[in-house]
Symmetry: D3
Subunit: 293 residues, 6 copies
């Protein structure tokens, strides 16, 4: 171990002090959280995830042997958002994302994914394949009256042609849901692997299914931390028991070789409900798995 002791790691994600993303991957926080339907507080997640990432600075990934210190990562800070205003915030996020080649976004709530997909769809020029890890389908047409809150992200994304539902797979789903929302999602062509399915199939089989669904299309990874069981991720806003263990999520991500990912987000971390930083560390680790894959 060299350099600064872990506890004194500088504040950027993975201790990165580079702020210019040119030619590489940009990590950014997006502290929007006003479209959440249960607990609030995901605005505090970027700071917490960056702090927790200090555990991952020293050494290489013990599977891929990629050392993140060798990667062209810049931490560009947090996106500007419009306080208390969802439409203006979504517009701001899309605008800021539109100038970035490859973005790893640290939410914030899941609502941030919609403008990120809009920007990426524009850049890629075609609907994206989607790997969506979550306890919830997030294809509700509305959220207690609010069209652009965290439960409607993929309803909009599918209807706006941002993602290709036949190349979309949702993993870890388990929340209560109206039958019509479920049926609409399947009818669009989305593949759903429930949490109980996941436990029966195991990570290798699920990974195979992901690769099959996604194919060679440009793809996006949206990782809602509540796909993990609340035991592994207590710090989240809409917890559902019966979720994945963190090793299972890692085992899945490590088997997605060949998927042509163009960006990712990890969302819905709520530090106020976290314990011992375990949720923030899980989120940081998922981004690290993505970066070091």
């Amino acid at each position: 171990m060299a350099g600064t002791p872990t506890f004194a790691t500088p504040p950027g994600f993975l201790g990165v002090q580079r702020r210019d993303p040119a030619g590489g991957i940009a990590v950014a926080g997006i502290p929007l959280d006003i479209g959440t339907t249960n607990r609030a507080g995901a605005r505090d997640a970027p700071r917490a995830i960056r702090a927790a990432s200090r555990m991952l600075v020293d050494g290489a990934h013990p599977g891929s042997w990629v050392d993140p210190a060798t990667l062209p990562i810049a931490d560009i800070g947090d996106f500007a958002i419009a306080l208390g205003d969802i439409p203006a915030s979504l517009a701001l996020i899309e605008q800021q994302a539109s100038v970035i080649d490859h973005l790893v976004a640290l939410g914030g709530e899941h609502g941030i994914t919609l403008p990120l997909l809009r920007a990426l769809r524009q850049r890629v020029g075609a609907p994206l394949a989607l790997v969506h890890c979550d306890a919830h389908v997030d294809t509700w047409p509305d959220n207690f009256g609010q069209a652009y809150a965290h439960g409607s992200v993929f309803w909009h994304a599918i209807r706006e042609g941002l993602v290709d539902p036949r190349r979309t797979i949702q993993i870890g789903i388990r929340s209560p849901v109206q039958r019509e929302v479920w049926d609409w999602t399947l009818a669009q062509g989305v593949t759903i692997v429930t949490a109980q399915d996941f436990f029966e199939l195991g990570p290798p089989a699920v990974a195979a299914k992901v690769r099959e669904v996604v194919g060679a299309a440009p793809a996006y990874l949206s990782f809602d931390i509540d796909v993990l069981d609340p035991a592994f991720a207590p710090g989240t806003g809409t917890p559902e028991i019966g979720g994945l263990a963190s090793w299972q999520a890692q085992a899945l991500l490590r088997r997605l070789d060949g998927v042509d990912f163009r960006g990712m987000d990890v969302v819905e971390v709520l530090p106020a409900h976290d314990v011992a930083e375990i949720t923030a560390l899980a989120a940081a680790t998922m981004a690290w798995e993505y970066l070091c894959r």
Copy 2:
């Protein structure tokens, strides 16, 4: 999602505002906790479980497709108990339970199960089959001198003929226990599936064994939240590591079709030791699994 946002759900279990149980299922809290042998505080569980149940209000069960809003559930509030007095409390609980057709009880400590079984045995007219999920056998003849505390519930239940030990199955057992208590329990005919057995067998095989043991007899489900590992249920009084994941408990309960359940309880939640409501949510979810099966 329609109606009230999740965070503003009214106070009844699953947001239910009906208080008259006629012709349906009554949910009641039973805030007794003075017969506990380690940590105290299960008296606060009914309030915490009801609050946590807000996560389960909006939509149908994503397996059975039962929507709890369509079920004839009433939340009748909390049972009266006698402060600081176990015998008087047990009598009060039995009396209040005796007028209820089908009760889902939110403990409180495990000691509440004895008067509930007395009342149900009376109503059913025969010893009940029992599905007992717990880290502890709860067949101790006494509890450091106290006959009617939470570790002796099924010693009494068997001796009083409330349950049929040959139609009784205990699942998730793993605490230290005197060999003679263990042997007595087996000698009565009880089937014990330890936590380690559970991990080897898997939920489908355990469910099959439950159905085999219980058969067609009228049955009762007593779910001590400490059957879950403390990672999944930290908020409990007598934790034992090495327990079930919450998905495993769900996978079990979802496979108990055909069992003729006449009532259930979920006990031993201690909100003061909970984090991020995960234990209370686990308890609420177990009751929801029961109701939506």
Copy 3:
């Protein structure tokens, strides 16, 4: 002590089960919190304050000897709000408040006070006198771009003629503030008693000043829990050290006899950051002081 043990108090504020406010005082929760500038989560406050109020159910106020059980209080539940939408929420809140004679509002963030004042101003027919306990002046013209967030309530209230600034007193003020915001506030005629002033003067002198400023005008009490020091109210969103002890706030409120209060609110409680319910209990107690004065 009679009736239900404290730990089993029913869910209404002060255990009240009456829901029809006719002819009396209505208590309502208002779970809006999306206009906050630091920590989020005041949406959870109504539930927490109601739960904490169980400490105040049994017996009379040991100063005024008013027993809240004898008062015409109804707990009418939570106001509807528009998820993720400040303007629509303010309109909804005003509309619901407009039909209530005398409202005790449990926030939510401070932004709820603006529509409450709009409704009350309409009902009273004249600008209100205002007793405003807070660490912050809340007379900023905007909040990082958002006009209707929690730091601008009284800027709007003064400009809309809802309150009479010469009959407005702010108590406990201590946060950083732009000199021009401070000067504008004073220039409107507002009286500011900083926290350090309060410690020098003591509660009786501050109370005398309140009575002098307010006079006989119809008055409103807006109690931001962050007027208390974070030691006494850790569960809040924009904490500032150096605040009042809870006994000082009580000593003040108990000396406001003769003030013609027409309504009150207690805002900015964040249960996710609270410990041992002490902030929620402080909020409940302030409302109880108001009701039992």
Copy 4:
């Protein structure tokens, strides 16, 4: 600083390893808590108070210059109690206390004080003077039906002639209370100094009043930790805001020279609701103030 580092202090109160109380002062834990009316868990207090007392081991009291290491203190462990049984526990406590010369009791709930007073009254041969620090008068004739719970201790103590009400002073009182309970207490001759009185008078004047009320009679100190404000003692079962600062309690105790104390207790610490051990430390410090006075 000599000997063992603070963090490695052995487990007895103040690190004391002597267990034979002969000729000195016995410290004992009394883990009874089943007569509490709100939160439970005072059973865990003896362990927590002993652990927190490690802060007070190294050096002398910086006022009296008494070094507790020079005092004849023994930590005799915890009293036996009867699990789940108030009458049997009270009998056991009385019996164990009856053979001890001078006892410093670490509760447990306030209900333990009754048998301690019974034993001490017997030993002293006359009613005791009483210094009672508390948020509650504890002279209720019952507790939601239970005669021997923590709110009735001094109702019994006065009626049984254990304490002399005219030599009894209650300090810090502030909870809601029925007018008839209050009036009965005063009618017995008890002096009540409310928390608001205390803040007006200041510690020296209150101490003078204590010395005046108690006089030269053999006296007992019963210190309910909830006399402190929840900011200073969050870990307690029936918190009331508006209480004393811990320095005020110390300033009072340090001025009680001349009072002929024969024993004391510190009760109602609930570690499950404590933060950073501050309540346990406050309790340990009060016992240390008593021992080093």
Copy 5:
């Protein structure tokens, strides 16, 4: 259940009050924690682990049927260490360990294992076989400049000939690590079972491998609590997600019959980051599994 209720268990490990280890197994705390690279606080672990062990006092192990009350265990208290001085502390620990036949050490950080191995190597007269459960290989040649901190224990142990690397197996490994550290470790002959390997193989196969690697050699068990996932052990200093469930660690330990263990330690518990004592209980349980095997 007989004797003292669980909550009143005396302070020794497993409630043991014997302090003379002659002829048996000595349990000792070793509160060293200044060589940690991330969070601090393992100094508080001995007290926390002893307290948590109260859950394991009453009854026999429900697999081996060994009752710890029948074992020749003494709790000899905490080892002396030199405050703030690693070399002096290591010397002190070695010296104290050298006079003990069979030691179960409750850390403290992992750095304590080096002097324990030095003492045991001396006593045994040959390099030890090692079963090392951990998220980290702990074979770094240094720790941000410090040679004797918690990440270098086995680098020294191998180089000093304390353990035989060909009879050393590391289980649960998953942290980032420099490729050269990994390769050096393997080059010494160490067997590494990563956490992902463990999940694929399952406990019986891993246990078989342990028995194969260790053979009949005198062996040592070093159990770093961070081998468990942070969900199961949040209270630790260098958490890594993706770890073992506690039942898996138990399933492994229960299958190590035939291994000739001469001592063990459980290290890296940090009570300040624990919740509901679950980490401390996991640590206590691992020592109990070892003792009752």
Copy 6:
């Protein structure tokens, strides 16, 4: 309010992004904590204090009307320390401090003050006057055998001629202490204002005494957060009840006009024991009071 919302403040102290201290004041973290005698973890304080300082970014000090955004402050990051090695760390700290004109240091433990005073003494060319706010005198000649731990800072500072004891004042003192340590301190000429003295005198009188003791000499402010009562600063390592309220510390600091301060530190914050960031915020505020005086 302009710029970034509070919750998205960039990571430097007070959101400062300048890192070159030339011509101004340097803020630096010093994450040393291995010389602590009770709880560990002050290494995490620099990150926590910086994060909490976001509350103080927007606006001017409401007393001095200094806006910190107008001050020449740079946040130069954390000092390098030697992991696990006190002497080497002290040397490193002194060396780094020696090139800084005016330093505001965010500890770490109190042990960091010794090398800071060594460097400043060298720069100033004469012994410094000292304003020392603390619960402890920190003039012990050793700390359980360790000469350079946090309780001996001023024993060394006086003996090394770094501070002038006749121009040294200690404020808020209240811990147990050996009589000989106390007497030695007084004999050097140090003025001690105990916490109880402070409460009797009040902030203005204590401030007058400080100005009188310090006079016109170049002075240093060492602010141990444990001078505050644990209610106001639970997150600290060696808490003592009976301490100052945070408003009192502010009232003191605001009256030290004319004192010629050349540097300051705020030490002994332990985030792991903090709640709702209140201790970190108190520490940040004390540095802000110093900067904006």
